[in-house]
Subunit: 289 residues, 2 copies
């Protein structure tokens, strides 16, 4: 997907690709200073890069580096080709469809397992996955795909959900595996895997950049995509997508088998429709382990 995306960006005339691979600076605090006097975003990629998303109250419209105006070299092309051609070039980069992202937390699993392969779903976990699958099916949406973490508990949850959504293709990825995305604030004293944040953080940020963005310009119809993964990954993704400080991910808590629904509009606006919905489960089936 990342390769396809790089190709799409190249096709839109982005020189080099330095934006795509710019340094991760989420959660760093920029000096606000003169920012208030600056024009609103939607402008150049350079401006957006100087003000990383999620670090203040303002919205960065180029958060996913897919803002059409940032994908073409406006001034240069304007002089060379005139406005009409520019408009058609812009249209070529503009998203037309809305993406509905359903983030599912895996259901309850055997915490005693030592290796990942031993951490299989409990009987209650299997029941939860049936309930989640049933609920997703009842929504009456044409789901496009299920992308799931390659960890055992996520794969098993996906298998069960998938029975309720026949014909929807499943794709496994290592990017969505559980991990420690960024040191949380407020801190947790009993859990400080600094070396882990170092590796997991970059991987989970990569998952965010690969999977969570406005639709490709060539996507004609709204899409409904399911991601079966993990509590930390989902909470980090929600913070990043809403441009809330990612250090705040532990201020949210997710039930097993819960549904979190993000909507990404063609103009890049994002809305969280529900976080951790398990209203479809009888209360005595709800767990958070």
């Amino acid at each position: 997907m990342s390769f396809r995306r790089a190709l799409a960006l190249a096709a839109c005339g982005l020189a080099g690709g330095s934006v795509l691979f710019s340094a991760v600076a989420v959660g760093k605090q920029p000096a606000r200073g003169g920012d208030a006097a600056e024009p609103r975003p939607g402008g150049s990629a350079a401006t957006a890069a100087a003000r990383p998303a999620g670090t203040g109250g303002y919205w960065d419209s180029n958060w996913d580096r897919r803002e059409p105006l940032a994908l073409i070299n406006l001034k240069k092309k304007n002089e060379e080709t005139g406005e009409e051609e520019l408009a058609s070039r812009l249209d070529h980069c503009k998203a037309k469809a809305t993406r509905h992202i359903f983030l599912i937390r895996h259901s309850q699993y055997n915490l005693d397992g030592r290796a990942d392969k031993d951490r299989t779903l409990t009987p209650l976990g299997r029941e939860q996955a049936e309930l989640t699958g049933h609920r997703l099916a009842s929504l009456g949406l044409k789901f496009d795909q299920i992308i799931h973490s390659s960890m055992t508990r996520a794969t098993e949850t996906t298998e069960i959900i998938s029975k309720h959504l026949p014909g929807v293709k499943k794709i496994s990825t290592d990017l969505l595996r559980e991990g420690a995305p960024i040191e949380p604030d407020p801190p947790v004293s009993h859990w400080k895997p600094e070396a882990v944040y170092y590796e997991d953080g970059a991987r989970i940020e990569a998952a965010f950049r690969n999977f969570i963005h406005r639709a490709d310009a060539k996507q004609e119809e709204d899409s409904y995509e399911i991601f079966v993964c993990h509590a930390n990954v989902i909470r980090y993704i929600v913070c990043r997508a809403l441009q809330f400080p990612p250090e705040g991910w532990l201020r949210m808590s997710l039930n097993n088998g819960s549904i979190t629904h993000l909507v990404i509009r063609p103009n890049g606006r994002v809305a969280l429709r529900t976080l951790g919905d398990t209203g479809f489960m009888p209360p005595d089936k709800i767990t958070r382990t």
Copy 2:
């Protein structure tokens, strides 16, 4: 409640009350500068006041101005009375119980009504309220009270929910009425009621300060409290409680009759357990008007 709270603060030895009534500065961007070198919060009220909550990635442990150490004059009392008495004074200010806050959005109502009294629930809205009430009752919790906005659609929703929770007292308040809490970012071009933000914003912030805080020190048992109010009010409260930028409130979206569950621990930590849960409703009964 605000009066009771002021009394409680006075009893804890807070001089004056200037913290309680300090200027609202939510969403303003502080210069980060030397902050990183400063000790973590939990310290003096003065420090906390200089770094308003919701403006960066860090957590302000005195966000509700109820951090015990901020409620007593530590240095002064330490010299005068010694440590033992200080510990007992601290204990006197310390919360012991957890508060569970259930924020319910009113159900569907007649948008054509001109005055508030004409904006009554639709038949589907009444059905949604029954489903919400049934779900709340099924949780098997000992609810303490239902505080609701005095607007017609919230009052009617409360009446229906209340039938499912016999014996739980209902309290009406104007503080929780719908309004425009703060100018959203990204902005909405069709809706810029600047004068409205001016009045509503202070009132909705007052609702947040009055209702959303850690438990009183004298509260012995965990509480389960229901607030029936409105989409803007709930979204603003969630941003403020999680210390996320309040300008981001429109990045969330809430179904009618949905349940949003916040947990406030005795140490002031806050977790969002679910946002806008309507999984208990058949999909064809779900609306967002």
